[in-house]
Structures are given as structure tokens and as C-alpha cells.
Symmetry: C2
Subunit: 710 residues, 2 copies
């Protein structure tokens, strides 16, 4: 069984990587266009490369430090000796996912713009292929890391206790989460500082359009899309994917450890399920991509349909394919553990429903965003109030959906349809729901990641002075990307909540309190909940303030260039783009450190003071508030963005009107909401659990907690 | 013992009421000023009266309906027969507190303006006396209701089981909370709709100053201060005060029911403590008011000092007086239960510290608000982002303070310093901390409630064309009020969190799950937490959207009048003030219904579906997120308000500059934050618990929850 498992996951990983390479080659076959386009694309590439290089330098200091700490802990037998190495590989692969995504995106931007000169359809093909490279790189590298470690631990180090294997694998999750947080926060601050800074001086003060080459921050803005929306997202989703699989594996082992007469072999089976679902999900995703095609001269609606056809088909295939996996492996060819199949199904359905709810609240095809746009009639204050209200209200549906998913997954996994009963079985069910939700990540991420490529293509079209219809086509692609991104966000947020719960369960399992209840009215649990619930607020505040500070420094620099460089605004002199890129790089790298350190240090501190009870409370509080805040901020931001675009389409006075100006204020507030703070919170809630798991040994030995509250 | 208790609380209540009457007479002795001032004041009074009359009509329909429902439940033995009547009296007294506060405020506004013509000091005396009427009416009526019901239940209906008495008294808490929520939400929507509407057209579009008589919404704006900031706050704090006392009493009975050999008599003693602390607190507050005096021609700093002297002195006296109460009553003249004294002390200290933290984050004497004001340099988007970040970050200190207070109060009440051990004793300690925090409410509310009176006085000064120095003086008083209001808010928010926890404990006690843990990882508890955590977001969204809608209708009406009434903007014709008042009244009363219904219906629904586990989770989730959201919204709003005032004082371009306009946008967004949504959330989290307690019998009989999750 174990060997087949390694082979299966390895093959899945390989398929994804090969597919990504084929797609990358397809992208590179296209032409980059005019000399001007090539040179702009090269500048963007240069800036993005320089940023990532410096980011990885800083991050590696953190990783070396953590490696040292973990090694010391391993020396004192608080951890297994594999842990420090697992931690490093998680970080490495997560960073690599972001790096490859960024490479292909910066190679595809000019090519997409050039393809759009021929037609919308050709542009879609280039951009979607680039998105696919990213999507399949993430899942491929994720599964590769998992299969390599499983192979090493099982066959090289010859460990036959599955729970020892999963507990080591959880620590590469911590590496991946740390890297993802750095990438999301740093990239998110970069992209929004450049965006907000460029808009505030360029659009509002100087009155020049977006992506105008006279704006000194315009290259920085486009670099930002790559390091934030691409490299950041790649690292982020790598973390989500790997986290959901390994936490489910860990719980599977715990669940079947309780079933009498099952033994180790069955533990391996339960552990294998999430990995196999992931591997089969890759095949389904590849199949799905073949259905993303459309006629020449297709309307935007038809394009959207062709994308949805791909993702829906992949979901339907995996829904079918998961059945035999459970039936033959967990059920040994009988219906005896079929309940877990329905847990996976519940996750898949919940992901789709959350995506639909996000789309309803943020797309200008529906009432909420249309309504929000009408609030621009009475100025920026009312559109801000309206957007905040919209985001807060939009938390209801996802809460109900996730709540229902938790209940269904839990009770169907503890009921008569399964052999494992009790809490462990139920929690394994919840974890499998998260895996189900992310099983088709390859294709959903492809439809998500092509958005920033199209956005960049638009910038290049504008800066290199291509015909207006090219910009119109890239805008159409970009708008389409906004809608698919909404669906993608639904999966990311929903799976984050479920995975975080699974990780809390793993933490409880690891600390040995398996059968003990963590009473919500116990003062340590209670204070833990308060502290944990506060963390996403703090985190959002730190990242928003960082964007504000960095943006202000961009504003000052752009103003300076407008004043000092003679002839810049008349188009007779060239702006010093590199300076703005450099400024954003320095500012964002400086600002990314504090939030990440808070995320790593707090769980340890809370554990040392309040003990395991406090940590469980903290993780619960952070997961719940983090989920709410992430949805609120993402949806408010998305709705403001689309309300602005809706007004630009000609309603409520159109572009340049007072209403439009009010909507731009809303969009600017929404920028850090949806692209910096919101997505980073998803990572935060998982990183907190991962850190808690790794430092559990230290916490349990804490003299403070034992003295006061033991 | 019981009889002495009734007498003591009755005397305390009477003292407060007599003191309020004396203060009211003092206010009425002053002159209302010119004919113009009298007529304006009369218009405001008329509008406020008309609003309250209609509000009470609508609310009474709700109360009649609830009375019927509760009566039916009593018939089926799900409740004691006293409950429906207790529910009604709670609502009645809460409404009465608001009504009396509003009466005296509308009588004092012109008198304060007129007194300010003589000097700042005289103005302070009138406004502070009016605030005292409100403060002592609230505590007086609160304690009166408590003592009457205790007398009736104990001596007329001859109940000798203290837990039966407290469970009935908890239901008049539900009446008070329902009324408070209606008053806060309705009044909050009215005041902010009028304020935002008046500002958006008057200040921004027409360019006329605040409170200009040419603005058709200016009377409505001043009416709003009275129905929102006065009547709403009165009902709100009545609810907080009564809620903290009765929840502590209920837990006291529960705690000592576990102590062997103590019996009923000791149960009554534990129950008496919160009431006695409240009664003694009234005396301390009255003593404190005598120290609020200052020299003629005092500076603003000296005025603030004189106010703080009063509140600090009251706190110090009660800190001393609480010792003998615990020593002689709970300790029977020994140190045996002295731990509870330190729990009370912890609450007092925590209240002061939260107030200081609020002041630090929202006063323009400190870095955060100064920093926020500087963000106006780059426009309204950056000041909005900065304010949201500031508010979110400002949750940390209160969380740490409340967390420390919970731990201290709990562990000191279960340790060697007390006889009652185990969870009940600890929860009683937490409840006593809340009582300690609110014990000097008489004087803290007085320093808080005089703010809106000064605000109104400023409006009357402006509208009746008094000398500019009068407006300067009322502005000085108003600014002072902002600082004291920050302290007041600290007490309100902190006590709300602790009281809500005490109420959850009462709920658990009532449902008979006393020794059972509510596991945070149990799916019903978990989903309950998710749903509960979502409620404050929904509630904030509903109330903000309501303000937005109502404000928009005011904008349209004001624009109409500016257009249709010839000569209005030149001061040659009079505006139709009554129409705006009427519009706000209708809109706010319509909008207040949905949020309140959500608050009452959700706990019952959650209970019926998820059972008691779900309800406990929901209450916990709502308390934690509600606490965070309330602090975030109040502090963001306060900081924006003061940043605007700071700019108006001449920095960053001063009044009329672009920076000022940006700050006005911030202030407008902050208006519903700090005066509608934020304070209402405090009530919400307690009302949820109260409703859960009253409907516990129904929930436990739920066939759905029993079938699925039983």
C-alpha cells in the first residue's frame, strides 16, 4: 500500500509539472511585440527579479534562525531530528512556486498584450496558459514535496508509525506557511503602495490616466502586480494546498488509531486518502483545461462560460473519482467507510457556494455592487460606509455555508456510514472537506492567476502606446479575471477555515489531550479566545498601516520627480522608474517583518503564559475572527473596485465625474483590504496553528503556565 | 439579612433619585436667554418629544407581543408566572431613564448656552448638573427596579430559594436590554442620519457652516443629539448597570450553592453583595460630584482636572468601602472570602485602564490621532485607511486588560482566599469585577452625558446668532466632553464584555449543564461560535446601511428645500425644519426594527437547531467579536472626529483646506461607527444572552436539536 501511494502521488506531481512545462513552452512561442513593449516588459521583469532576490535574502535569514532554534529543540528531544529539514523544504518549495509563477507572468505580459493586437481570443489563450503554468506548478511542487518526504520517512528512515510521519510532515507546513506569509505581506505591501501612490499623485493630483508612462511609479505598479498578485499568491496557495493535505493525513491516522483491530496498515490507508484525492484532482484539472476553448470573436460572456466549463468539469470528474478511492481503499471494497466520501463532496459543494456568494456581493452584475455605485452620488463618505456595510453583511452566507459543511462533514463521518466514531473521525471528515475543496486547485488557480497577467498586459499596452482596442481587450480579460478571482477566493478562504480547524485538532492530538474537552468557559481558554480573536485585527491594522506608510513615501517621490524632472509631464523627459521600484522594494521588505514576527511569536508567548488551554482558545478565536475579517475585507475591496469600474462604464456620471472620484477613494481604501490584509489573514490563521504544533513540546514544559494554571 | 438588604438598596436608589431631583431644580433655575434661543430650544424639544412618543408607540407593540409570548410560555410552565411582568418593568424603567435624560437635556441646552454668555465656568455648572440628573436617574431607577422586585419576590410572594428570585430578575434584564437596543439603534440612526445629511449638503455642497440656521436639517441634527446621545445612552447604561448587578447576583447564588453547610441564608448574602456595592457606589458618586468645582476663568485643562477629581475620588472611596462589605457580609467578620474584594478591585482598575487606552488612541493630545491628522495631506483615502488601522490596532490594549482582569478575578475567586471553589466561584468573581467597574456609574455617566448638552448649546448659540466667544466656550465644553466620553466608553465596553460572560455562565447554570464542559472543538459549539462571531458584523452592517439610507433621504430633502424655497440661502426665507425632523423620525423608526428583531430571533433559532451547545458557542463568539468590533468602531470614529477638530485648530492647512475636507470625510464615516453601530453592539451581546436565558426552556425541548445532535 505505502509504496503504491508514493508512486501514485509522485506520478500525480510529475504530471502536473510536465503539464506546466508544456504550457510554459506554449507561452514562450508567442512574440513579445514591438521593441518598446519588449523594453517595458524587461523593466518590469528586472524590478520583479530584484525584489524577489532581496526578499529571499531577508527571508533566508529568518529561515536560518528558525532552523537553528528547531535544531536546538531537536537536540533536546522536543522534536524529531527531521523537523528542521522539513521546515526548510516547505519554505523552499513555497518560495519556488511563487518564483516560477512570477517568471512566467513577467514573460507572458508583453506576449498577452501583443496577442490582444490580433484578437481577444488569442490574448486569452496566452494569459490562461500562463495562469496554468502557475496553477500546475503550485499543485505539482506541493505534491512532490509531500511524496518525497513520505518516501524518505517511510522507506529511507524506515518509520512504520504513521503518526510519526505525519507529525514531521506538519512541520514542512510551517515552513510553507512562514514563506507564504512573507511573500503575501511583502508582495501585498509592494503592490498596493505602488498602486495607491501612483494613483494618488498621477490620477488625482496630476490628472493623467492609469499606467501613463509619464508617471514615475507606473513600472513599480506593474512590478507590484507580479510580486504581489502572482508571487505572493503562488506561495500562498502552495501553503493552502499542502496544509490541507497534510493536516487531513494527520487526522486520518488519529481517527483510525481508535478503531479496534485496524492497526498500522489502516492508519496508512487513512493517511493516503488526502494525497490520492490530490493526485487524482491534478488529472481532473488537466482534463478540465482542455475544455477552456471558445470560438473566435467570442463575447465576454462566452469567454467566462468557457472558463467555468473547465473548472466545473474538473469538479464533476473529481466528485465521481473520489467515490472509488474511498470505496476501495477505506472501505476495502465495501460501503463501510463511505461517509468520508460525502465529507469530501460537502467540501467541494461548499467551495463552489462560497465562490457564488463572493461573486454575488462583488460583481457589478448584481444588486449589492450596483447599489454601492449609486452611493457615489452623495460623495466618498457614503460610498465608504456602504462598502464597509456590504463587506460585513457578506460574511453571513459563507458563515452559514461553512457551518453547514462542518456539521455535515462531522456528523456523516461519525455516523453509521463510517467505522471510526467519536471526535477524531468527525475532525478527519472536516479535514477531508478542505481537501475536497482544494482538489481542483490546478485549474481554479489557473483561472485566477491569469488575471494579473492580463492586468500587466494592459499596462504595457498603455505605456507602449498601442491602439485603444488593445487596451479594451486587455481590460475585458482583466474584468473577467476579477470574476474568476472571486471564485478562487471563495475556495481559498473556505479551505483556510476548514484547514485551520483540522490543524487545531492536530495540535490537540499532538499535545495528548485527545479525549479532554477544552471548555469555552475555562478562564485560560476564554482569555486565549479573546487574544486569538484580536490577532487578525492587529494583523490587518499592521499591514494596512504599512501600505499607508509605504504609499506615502511613493507619493513624495513621485511629486518630487514631477517637480524636479523638467519636461516630464509634457512627455519630453523620461521618469526615473527604477527609483520608485527601489523605494517600494525597500519599504515593503522593511514592513513585512513585524507582522510575520507577530504571527510566529504570539502562539509561543500565549502558550508559555496560558498553557495548552490558552493556545487552543487562541487558535479557535483567531480562526473564527480571521475567517470573518478576511471575507469582510476581500469583499468590501472587490465591491469598491467593481463599483468604480461600473461607473467607468458610463453610469452615474462616468469617468472623470465627481461620482467617479468618490468611487476612486473607495477603490483606494479597498486596495489594501483585498490585496494585502485580507489574503494574508488566511495564511495567518494556519501559521498560528503550525507554530503551535511545532512548539507544543516547549509550551507543555512551561513553568509559568504549569505554576499558575496547571 | 434580606430585609436589611431591601432597605439598603431602596435607600441607595432613593438617594440617587432625590439627588437627581435637586440637580434638575438647579438646572431649571437658570435662564433660557433670548426669545430666539427659547424658540429654538422649544423646536428641539418638540422634535425630540415627538420622536420619543412615536418610538415608544412602536416599541410598546413589541413589548405587548413579547408579553403574550412569555405569558404563553409561563402557562406551559416553561417560565415562572412573574417573568412576563418583570420583562415589562425592565423595559419601562430603561425607557424612562432615557426619557428623563432627554427631558433635562432639552431643558438645559439653551440654559447652558446662555450661561456660557457669562463664562465658561457657569456653562460647565449647568451642563454638568444636567449630566448629573441623567447619571443619577439611571442608577436610581436601576436600583429601584431591583429592590422592588426583590421585595415582591422575597416578601410578597414569599420565595425563599434565592436562585428562583435571581432567575426572575434576569428577565427584567431582557426587558431593559430590548428597550435599550431599540433606543440606541433608533436614536443612533436618527442622530447620524441628520448629522451626515446636514453636513453633506450644508457643509460640503452649499459651503455653509455647521448649525447654520439656513440648513433645513439643523434642528433635526440637534434633535438627534438628544434622542440618540442622551435618550439612547440613558436606556443603554440603565441596561448595563442592571445587567451587571443581576447577573452577578445570580452567579453569587450559584457559587455558594456549592459550598457545603452554607445553605439558603448564605445564598442570599452572595446575592446581596452586588446590590450593596451598587448602593454604596451611589453614595460615593454623590460625594464625588461635590469635588467637581473650579475657579472662575479656569483653563480647559483645569476644567478637565476638576472633572477627573470627582470621578477618581468616587472610585477611591468605593475601593475602600467595598472592603468592609465583603469582610462583614461574605466573610462573617473574617478574611475568609476576601478574594472577592480583589475581584471587585480588578474590575475598577480595568475600567480605568481601558478608559486611558481609549483616550490615548482617540485624543489629539497623543501621537495616534496626530498621526492620523497628518494622513489628510494625501487625501481622504489615506485618512480612511489610517483610521481603520488605528481602530483595529487599538483593540490590543483593552483585550490584554480585560484578559488580565478575567484571569485575576477568576483565580483569586477560586483560590485560597475564598471558600467557594471551582468554576462557579470564579465566574462570580468575574461578574463582581463588572459590578466594580460600573459601581461609580452615577458620576462617570454625569461627566459623559453633559457632552451632548454642551453640543446642543453650541448649536443654539450658532443658530440664534450669539457672540462668537459663546460658541468658543461651548466648543471647549464639547471638546472636554469628548475626552470624558472616552473614559465613559471604556467602562461601558469593558463591563459589557464581563457582564456578557457572567450572563453566559448564568445561562449554563440555568440550563443545568453546570459541571459539563462546552468543548470548543465540538461541532455544535464550533458552528455556534462561527454564527455568533458573525452577528456583530451583521449588526454593524445593518445599522450602518440604515444610517446611509436615512442620510440619503435627508440629503435629497435638504437639496429640495435649497432649490424650492426662494431666498433660503440668502437668509431671507425660513427653512422647513419640521419636515427634516419628521423624515428622520420615520426613517430611523423604520430602520430600527430589523436589527432588533435579528438580535431577538437568532438565539432562539440557533438554540432550536443546534441546541444548548450551539447557544453557548454563539454567545461566546458574539461576546468576543462584539467586544473587538465595538472598540474598533468606537475608537476609529473618535479618532477621526478629533483628527478633524485638530485640523480645525489650525494645523495641516486648517479649516476649509483640502486636508480639512479629507478629514471631514473621515469624520462622516466615523459618525455611524462611534454613535450608532459601536455602542449598539455592547447592548447586542448582552441581549443575546438574556434572550437565550429566557427561552432556555423552549430550546431544551427542541426536537430538531435533540434528534440530530442530542
Amino acid at each position: 500500500m505505502d509504496l503504491y501511494l508514493v508512486i501514485a502521488t509522485f506520478v500525480g506531481a510529475l504530471l502536473a509539472i510536465v503539464f506546466a512545462i508544456i504550457m510554459a513552452k506554449r507561452v514562450l512561442r508567442f512574440d513579445e511585440g514591438t521593441e518598446k513593449m519588449k523594453s517595458i516588459s524587461a523593466s518590469i521583469r528586472k524590478g520583479a527579479n530584484a525584489y524577489l532576490k532581496r526578499q529571499y535574502t531577508i527571508v533566508s535569514i529568518f529561515f536560518v534562525g528558525m532552523f537553528a532554534i528547531l535544531s536546538v529543540m531537536a537536540l533536546f528531544d522536543m522534536l524529531t531530528p527531521y523537523v528542521p529539514f522539513a521546515f526548510i523544504t516547505g519554505g523552499f518549495f513555497s518560495g519556488l512556486s511563487g518564483f516560477i509563477g512570477m517568471k512566467i507572468a513577467t514573460a507572458a505580459n508583453a506576449r498577452t498584450a501583443n496577442a490582444c493586437r490580433v484578437g481577444l481570443n488569442k490574448g486569452l489563450r496566452v494569459a490562461f496558459s500562463a495562469g496554468s503554468v502557475m496553477g500546475f506548478t503550485v499543485v505539482g511542487l506541493g505534491l512532490l514535496d509531500i511524496s518525497i518526504w513520505f518516501f524518505l520517512l517511510r522507506f529511507v528512515f524506515d518509520i512504520d508509525d504513521p503518526s510519526l510521519i505525519t507529525s514531521t510532515m506538519l512541520t514542512f507546513g510551517m515552513g510553507a506557511s512562514s514563506m507564504a506569509l512573507f511573500a503575501r505581506v511583502g508582495g501585498g505591501i509592494f503592490t498596493k503602495a505602488a498602486d495607491v501612490g501612483a494613483d494618488l499623485v498621477g490620477k488625482v493630483e496630476a490628472g493623467i490616466p492609469e499606467d501613463d508612462p509619464r508617471n514615475p511609479a507606473c513600472i513599480a505598479d506593474n512590478v507590484g502586480d507580479n510580486v504581489g498578485d502572482v508571487a505572493g499568491m503562488g506561495a500562498d496557495l502552495y501553503e493552502s494546498y499542502v496544509g490541507s493535505v497534510i493536516s487531513a493525513s494527520a487526522l486520518g491516522v488519529a481517527a483510525f488509531a481508535q478503531v479496534e483491530g485496524k492497526g498500522m496498515a489502516f492508519g496508512f490507508k487513512a493517511m493516503a486518502i488526502p494525497m490520492l484525492i490530490a493526485a487524482v484532482g491534478i488529472i481532473c484539472s488537466i482534463l478540465g483545461t482542455f475544455f477552456v476553448r471558445t470560438k473566435e470573436n467570442a463575447t465576454q460572456k462566452m469567454l467566462l462560460k468557457s472558463l467555468s466549463r473547465g473548472t466545473n468539469l474538473a469538479a464533476i470528474i473529481i466528485a465521481g473519482a473520489a467515490f472509488p478511492i474511498i470505496y476501495f481503499i477505506l472501505g476495502d471494497g465495501s460501503m463501510s467507510n463511505i461517509g468520508y466520501y460525502f465529507a469530501i463532496l460537502a467540501g467541494l459543494v461548499a467551495g463552489v457556494l462560497i465562490g457564488l456568494s463572493t461573486e454575488y456581493f462583488t460583481s457589478d452584475s448584481y444588486k449589492p455592487t450596483k447599489n454601492l455605485a449609486s452611493k457615489s452620488e452623495t460623495g466618498s463618505a457614503t460610498i465608504i460606509i456602504g462598502g464597509l456595510g456590504l463587506g460585513m453583511l457578506s460574511t453571513v452566507l459563507p458563515i452559514v455555508i461553512v457551518g453547514a459543511c462542518i456539521l455535515v462533514a462531522y456528523y456523516i463521518s461519525t455516523g453509521s456510514l463510517t467505522e471510526s466514531s467519536g471526535p477524531s473521525g468527525g475532525l478527519y471528515g472536516i479535514a477531508l472537506a478542505a481537501v475536497g475543496m482544494l482538489s481542483t486547485l490546478g485549474i481554479t488557480l489557473a483561472t485566477d492567476a491569469y488575471g494579473p497577467v492580463a492586468d500587466n498586459a494592459g499596462g504595457i499596452a498603455e505605456m507602449s502606446g498601442l491602439e485603444p482596442e488593445v487596451r479594451q481587450r486587455t481590460d475585458a480579460l482583466d474584468a473577467l479575471g476579477n470574476t474568476t478571482a472571486a471564485t478562487g477566493k471563495g475556495f481559498a478562504i473556505g479551505s483556510a477555515a476548514l484547514t485551520a480547524l483540522a490543524l487545531i485538532a492536530s495540535y490537540i492530538d499532538k499535545t495528548g489531550f485527545k479525549y479532554e474537552a477544552f471548555d469555552i468557559m475555562d478562564p485560560c481558554v476564554l482569555v486565549g479566545i479573546f487574544v486569538g480573536a484580536c490577532l487578525p485585527f492587529v494583523f490587518a491594522a499592521l499591514t494596512m498601516n504599512a501600505v499607508g506608510r509605504a504609499a506615502q513615501s511613493v507619493v513624495i517621490e513621485v511629486r518630487r520627480q514631477f517637480k524636479k524632472i523638467v519636461g516630464l509631464l509634457d512627455g519630453k523627459a523620461e521618469a526615473d522608474y527604477a527609483r520608485c521600484v527601489d523605494l517600494c522594494t525597500k519599504a515593503s521588505l522593511k514592513e513585512m517583518i513585524l507582522p510575520t514576527v507577530v504571527a510566529v511569536v504570539t502562539p509561543v508567548l500565549v502558550g508559555l503564559i496560558l498553557g495548552v488551554d490558552g493556545v487552543v482558545g487562541m487558535l479557535g478565536g483567531a480562526t473564527v475572527t480571521g475567517f470573518l475579517l478576511a471575507i469582510f475585507m476581500s469583499n468590501s475591496g472587490g465591491a469598491w473596485d467593481n463599483a468604480k469600474k461600473y461607473i467607468e462604464s458610463g453610469v452615474h456620471g462616468g469617468k472623470g465625474s465627481d461620482q467617479h472620484k468618490a468611487a476612486v477613494v473607495g477603490d483606494t481604501v479597498g486596495d489594501p483590504f483585498k490585496d494585502t490584509s485580507g489574503p494574508a489573514i488566511n495564511i495567518l490563521i494556519k501559521l498560528l496553528s503550525m507554530v503551535s504544533i511545532v512548539f507544543a513540546g516547549l509550551v507543555m514544559a512551561s513553568p509559568i503556565a504549569n505554576y499558575f494554571f496547571g
